[in-house]
C-alpha cells in the first residue's frame, strides 16, 4: 500500500467519525449544564442535613442522642444542656436542647439513619450537595451551618415536584 492510499483511507475515517459528532450538535442535550444551569434533584435526595425549628423559631432538637447512637460512621457529636428559661424564651422547644450539634461530613455516609431515628423530626436530609471545601477541618459543620434558619438556598439546584419526571437517564433521546 502506497503512502497516498494510506492518507486517503485515514482522512475518510476521520470524516466519518466527525460526521457522527457533527450530526449530534443540533440535537437536544440531556447533560445538565451545571453550574450554569440549576440541577433538578429528586424529592428524596439525601444531601446536607437540616436542623429544623418550630413555628416560633425554636429548635426542635431535644438532644436525645438517638441520631448519634444510630449513626454507623459516628459522625454526630452532641452536647446536651439545660435551658431553665420560660418556654417562650428558650432556644429549643423543650428544657433540654443541644448546646453543640456537629456533623463531620468527612465521615458522614448520607445513609439517613439519623433522620429515621429522630423522634422529634428535628433532623432531615436537605438537598445541598455542594460540600467541597479547601480545608479538611471545614468539613465539620456546626449548628450554625446546619440550622434551617441559617442555611442559604444555593442557586445551583432545584427540587423536583413529587409528580415531576426528572429521571432523564431512562428517557428516549
Amino acid at each position: 500500500m502506497s503512502i497516498i492510499t494510506e492518507v486517503i483511507e485515514n482522512t475518510r475515517a476521520i470524516i466519518k467519525g466527525m460526521m457522527t459528532t457533527v450530526s449530534y450538535i443540533p440535537r437536544e442535550k440531556w447533560t445538565v449544564q451545571y453550574p450554569d444551569e440549576p440541577v433538578t434533584l429528586q424529592p428524596r435526595f439525601r444531601g446536607q442535613h437540616l436542623l429544623h425549628v418550630d413555628e416560633l423559631g425554636r429548635e426542635k432538637c431535644v438532644a436525645c442522642y438517638l441520631c448519634a447512637a444510630a449513626c454507623p460512621s459516628d459522625c454526630i457529636y452532641i452536647v446536651a444542656a439545660d435551658d431553665p428559661r420560660p418556654a417562650e424564651e428558650r432556644t429549643g422547644v423543650d428544657e433540654r436542647y443541644a448546646k453543640v450539634y456537629n456533623i463531620d461530613y468527612g465521615r458522614c455516609i448520607f445513609c439517613g439513619f439519623c433522620v429515621e431515628a429522630c423522634p422529634k423530626d428535628a433532623i432531615t436530609h436537605g438537598y445541598n450537595f455542594e460540600l467541597s471545601v479547601y480545608s479538611r477541618a471545614d468539613l465539620l459543620k456546626t449548628k450554625d451551618d446546619l440550622l434551617i434558619t441559617k442555611q442559604k438556598q444555593s442557586p445551583n439546584y432545584r427540587v423536583a415536584f413529587s409528580d415531576e419526571d426528572v429521571d432523564s437517564e431512562y428517557k428516549e433521546v
Binding site: V62, Y65, A69, A80, P84, R96
Partner: protein
C-alpha cells in the same frame, strides 16, 4: 447449708433453699421474671403485678415476689395466660406515662423502657387525656417528674428502710397517686438513693440533668474517695470529663449494693472544676509570687531545695506528710521516699486521729459491712455513722429493722440513729473513755456511771445485752476515744470472754477513705504526728514535703507554722491553705484520674481505677514522688506503674502479703487484709490511765439534748465539696426557692454570706 426443698418450675424439678422467695428461685434457675416493685432486702410491695405466675392449686395468678417456695410447688412462668396478664399490666402502667423518652434522662437505662420492649404493644388503646404534671425540683440535687411514675414505691421504701428518714412518700388516691414530699421540698440527707432505685425517670439526678446519655458514657468501677466505708461506684465519663457517679446494679456490684450518700453521688464535679491547679507552681523567693512553670523546672527546684536542707541539717530535718485521702500506692511512695531517699523518721499522714493503739491490741477480726447487717448486737461508742459513715449507718439501721439486731448507743449527742436503739445511754460530752472503762472493768461501772450522768444499772444492762448475745457482736467506736481507750476497746472481746455461738467483731469509724490504709502501711508510725510536725516547724523540721493538705483542724492556732519552714513542697488538687504557703506546688491527680487501692474501715482493699486522663498537667501523687526521688538520685523502682508499687506493698507489709491487682479485680468479692490479731494483752496500765482521766471529768457538765440537724456533717463545705454549687445551697440550710419548676441553682444567688464556714475537712 439450709434445708433443700423441691419446686417444679415449668415442668422441671429444682432444688431450692427452704424459705426462698419464688421470684428469686425462678431467676436463679434461668427463668427471667419481669418485675418493677420487687427489690431484694426491702419490704414487699406487690404493686406492679408484673411478676405474675401460675401456681397449681391456687385460684388466680400469683405475684411471685410475695410467695415463699414450699415443697412440691408446681409453678408455670410462661404461658399464654401469663403473657396476656403482663401485656395488660404494661398497658395500664403506660396509661399515664408521658412517653417522653427523648427528653428523659433515664432513657437508655430505664427499666420501664426495657419492659415495654418485651411486653408492650405497638399501639396505645387509651384515648383519654393523661394526667399532666410539670417537671419540678424536690431539692438542689433531686429532680422529679411525677407523671412518669409507675408507683412501684421503691423510693419510699428505700427512704424509710435504708435512711430512716421517710422524707418521700406517696400521696393522693387511685390514678392520682403521686410521689411527693412533706411541704414540697426535700429536707433530708439528700443521699439520692431514691434516684438510684427508681426504675423510670420519675426521680432524677439534678446535677446530671440533661447532660448526656448513658450509652455515651464510659463507665469505670472505682471506689468512693470520701468516707471510710469505701463504697463501690461506677464513674461515668465522657471525653475526659466525669459526668456522673452511680452505684446501679447493672454497672457495679460492690458491698454497698446500690447505696451511695450525697458525697459519693453528687460531689464529683470537683474533678473537672476550673480551680484545679493547672501547672506546677514555684515560689523562687520567700514572700515572692507563685510562678507557673514546667514539670522539669519544678522538680529540679524542689530537689535542689530538699538537697540543700539535707546537706545543711541532715535528712531528719525534712518531714514527709501523706494523706488518708490518697491511695495506698501514693502513701507507700511517700513512705519509701522518706525512708530510702531522705532517711528521715519524721513521716506521718494528715489524719484526724491515729488508729495505731487500736490495731496494736486488735483481738478480734474487723467487721465488714455485711457482718454489720447480719449482726445480733451492735454497740456504738461515740461517733455518728449516719453523718460521717452513711453506709455503716444504713447497715446498722437495717440490722435493727430488718434483722432484729439490738443496738446499744453510748453517745453524748442524741444522734438520729438512737431511734433504732434498743438502749441509748446519753452520756456527758467528752466522757466516751469512761464508757470503755465501765464496760471493760465492771468494778468501775458505778463510779463511771455517776461521772457519765447515767443510772448505775444502764451500763450493766448494756453489758448484759452483749453477754447474752447469740451471734455476732459488733463493737464500733468513733474518733472521740483516746489512745488508751482504743487499746481497751480492741481488748474488750477478751474482757467478755469466750461463749459458744458468740463472735466479737470490731469496727473503727475513721473519717477518711484510706484511714486504715495509711495505718497499715506504717505511715502513722513515724516519730511525730501531724500536730507535732507543725509545732516543730522551723526548729527540728526545716523542710516539709506534703501530699494533700493539712486538715483545717491541724492548722487552727498554728497559722504561722508553715511559713517558719525553709522549704515546703505540696502536691494538691486545689490551692488550699497548706498549698498557699508552699514554695513548690505540684498539681496532683484526683481519684478519678489515678489507679490504685483504698483500704476501707472493714479492711477491704478495693481498686480505684483511672476513668479519665489527668486533667491539665496533673500527675498521680506516686508518680510525682517517684520523679522527685529520681531527681534526688534514687530510683524507687516503680517503673511508672501502680501495680508495681502494690507488689512492693505486698512484699513490705505483712497484712497485704500475697495481694495483687488481679485478685482485687472483682468488686463483688472484696478482699480483706489480714490484720495481725493480738492475743489477750494486759491492759491494766491503760485502765489505770482511764481511771485517772475519769477523776478529772466534770460531774456537773451539761448534757447535749438537741439532736443535730440532718446533714450537719454531710453538707459541710470542705476543700472538695465546696467546689459543688449544690453543696453551698445545702450548707446554707437548703432554702426553698420561689419556684420549684426551675433548678434552685438558677434562682438562688450564692452570696458568700450564706456560705457556712467550713470547720473541718470534708
Amino acid at each position: 447449708m439450709a434445708e433443700l426443698i423441691k419446686v417444679i418450675i415449668n415442668g422441671q424439678d429444682f432444688q431450692v433453699e427452704k424459705g426462698a422467695r419464688l421470684i428469686d428461685a425462678c431467676r436463679e434457675n434461668g427463668y427471667s421474671i419481669a418485675s418493677f416493685c420487687y427489690y431484694a432486702d426491702l419490704a414487699l410491695q406487690a404493686s406492679c403485678r408484673m411478676c405474675l405466675v401460675r401456681i397449681e392449686k391456687m385460684p388466680k395468678l400469683q405475684t411471685s415476689c410475695t410467695i415463699t417456695c414450699t415443697d412440691g410447688m408446681v409453678v408455670t412462668t410462661e404461658s399464654e395466660e401469663i403473657e396476656k396478664a403482663r401485656r395488660g399490666m404494661v398497658e395500664f402502667l403506660l396509661a399515664n406515662h408521658p412517653l417522653d423518652c427523648p427528653v428523659c434522662d433515664r432513657g437508655g437505662e430505664c427499666e420501664l423502657q426495657e419492659m415495654v420492649f418485651d411486653w408492650g404493644d405497638l399501639e396505645e388503646r387509651f384515648t383519654e387525656r393523661k394526667n399532666y404534671a410539670p417537671e419540678k425540683f424536690l431539692s438542689p440535687v433531686v429532680a422529679n417528674d411525677s407523671q412518669r411514675c409507675i408507683l412501684c414505691k421503691r423510693c419510699t421504701r428505700v427512704c424509710d428502710e435504708w435512711m430512716g428518714e421517710d422524707a418521700i412518700e406517696a400521696g393522693g388516691r387511685g390514678a392520682h397517686t403521686v410521689i411527693g414530699t412533706y411541704g414540697g421540698w426535700l429536707n433530708c440527707s439528700q443521699c439520692g438513693n431514691c434516684i438510684e432505685v427508681c426504675p423510670t425517670g420519675t426521680l432524677l439526678d439534678a446535677t446530671y440533668r440533661h447532660q448526656t446519655r448513658p450509652w455515651e458514657l464510659s463507665r469505670t468501677t472505682s471506689t468512693c474517695s470520701f468516707c471510710s466505708d469505701g463504697c463501690q461506684l461506677s464513674v461515668g465519663s465522657r471525653r475526659g470529663e466525669v459526668m456522673r457517679v452511680v452505684a446501679r446494679d447493672r454497672y457495679v456490684n460492690g458491698h454497698n449494693g446500690e447505696f451511695l450518700c450525697i458525697k459519693g453521688r453528687f460531689a464529683h464535679p470537683f474533678v473537672n472544676h476550673e480551680e484545679r491547679l493547672r501547672t506546677p507552681l514555684v515560689r523562687y523567693k520567700k514572700g515572692g509570687r507563685l510562678v507557673p512553670t514546667t514539670w522539669e523546672e519544678a522538680v529540679r527546684f524542689a530537689a535542689q531545695k530538699l538537697q540543700e536542707v539535707k546537706d545543711a541539717h541532715g535528712g531528719s530535718a525534712i518531714g514527709v506528710v501523706g494523706s488518708p485521702r490518697l491511695t495506698n500506692e501514693s502513701n507507700w511512695a511517700l513512705l519509701r521516699f522518706a525512708r530510702d531517699v531522705l532517711g528521715t523518721d519524721k513521716y506521718t499522714a494528715s489524719e484526724a486521729f491515729s488508729l495505731a493503739p487500736f490495731f496494736e491490741n486488735l483481738s478480734a477480726p474487723l467487721a465488714t459491712h455485711k457482718d454489720i447487717r447480719h449482726a445480733k448486737t451492735i454497740v456504738l461508742i461515740g461517733g455518728e455513722p449516719e453523718e460521717l459513715q452513711p453506709l455503716t449507718g444504713k447497715q446498722v439501721r437495717q440490722a435493727v429493722r430488718n434483722g432484729g439486731a439490738k443496738l446499744v448507743i453510748f453517745n453524748s449527742v442524741p444522734i438520729r440513729l438512737k431511734e433504732q436503739a434498743a438502749q441509748f445511754v446519753h452520756i456527758r460530752p467528752g466522757s466516751e473513755d469512761a464508757v470503755v472503762l465501765a464496760l471493760a472493768s465492771p468494778g468501775d461501772a458505778e463510779v463511771a456511771a455517776s461521772k457519765l450522768g447515767v443510772e448505775a444499772d444502764e451500763i450493766g444492762k448494756a453489758s448484759q445485752i452483749i453477754s447474752e448475745t447469740a451471734g455476732d457482736v459488733v463493737l464500733m467506736f468513733g474518733g472521740e476515744l483516746s489512745a488508751e481507750a482504743q487499746s481497751v476497746v480492741a481488748q474488750l472481746p477478751a474482757a467478755f470472754g469466750e461463749k459458744e455461738g458468740r463472735r466479737f467483731l470490731l469496727h473503727p469509724l475513721p473519717l477518711f477513705n484510706n484511714s486504715v490504709g495509711v495505718h497499715d502501711l506504717g505511715l502513722m508510725n513515724g516519730a511525730l504526728n501531724p500536730l507535732e510536725i507543725l509545732d516543730a516547724a522551723g526548729s527540728e523540721v526545716r523542710a516539709l514535703y506534703v501530699a494533700g493538705g493539712f486538715l483545717p483542724a491541724h492548722l487552727e492556732g498554728r497559722e504561722g507554722a508553715l511559713s517558719r519552714l525553709d522549704f515546703l513542697a505540696v502536691q494538691e488538687l486545689f490551692l488550699t491553705e497548706t498549698a498557699e504557703a508552699a514554695d513548690v506546688i505540684f498539681p496532683a491527680a484526683s481519684f478519678a484520674e489515678t489507679d490504685g487501692t483504698f483500704t476501707n474501715s472493714d479492711g477491704l482493699v478495693q481498686r480505684v481505677r483511672q476513668s479519665i486522663p489527668p486533667v491539665h498537667q496533673s500527675k498521680p501523687d506516686w508518680a510525682i514522688t517517684s520523679q522527685l526521688a529520681s531527681a534526688l538520685g534514687t530510683d524507687l523502682g516503680f517503673q511508672m506503674s501502680s501495680s508495681n508499687i502494690f507488689l512492693d506493698i505486698a512484699h513490705g507489709v505483712p497484712a497485704y502479703e500475697g495481694l495483687r491487682y488481679p485478685l482485687l479485680k472483682d468488686e463483688s468479692k472484696p478482699v480483706q487484709v489480714k490484720h495481725a490479731l493480738a492475743g489477750r494483752r494486759d491492759v491494766t496500765a491503760q485502765l489505770a490511765e482511764l481511771r485517772r482521766a475519769l477523776e478529772s471529768l466534770d460531774e456537773n457538765a451539761e448534757k447535749i439534748t438537741e439532736t443535730p440537724p440532718v446533714g450537719h456533717e454531710l453538707f459541710k463545705l470542705g476543700v472538695l465539696t465546696s467546689k459543688v454549687p449544690q453543696f453551698h445551697l445545702l450548707a446554707a440550710g437548703n432554702p426553698e426557692p420561689e419556684s420549684v419548676l426551675v433548678s434552685p441553682l438558677y434562682q438562688i444567688t450564692l452570696d458568700p454570706g450564706l456560705r457556712r464556714e467550713a470547720a473541718a475537712g470534708d
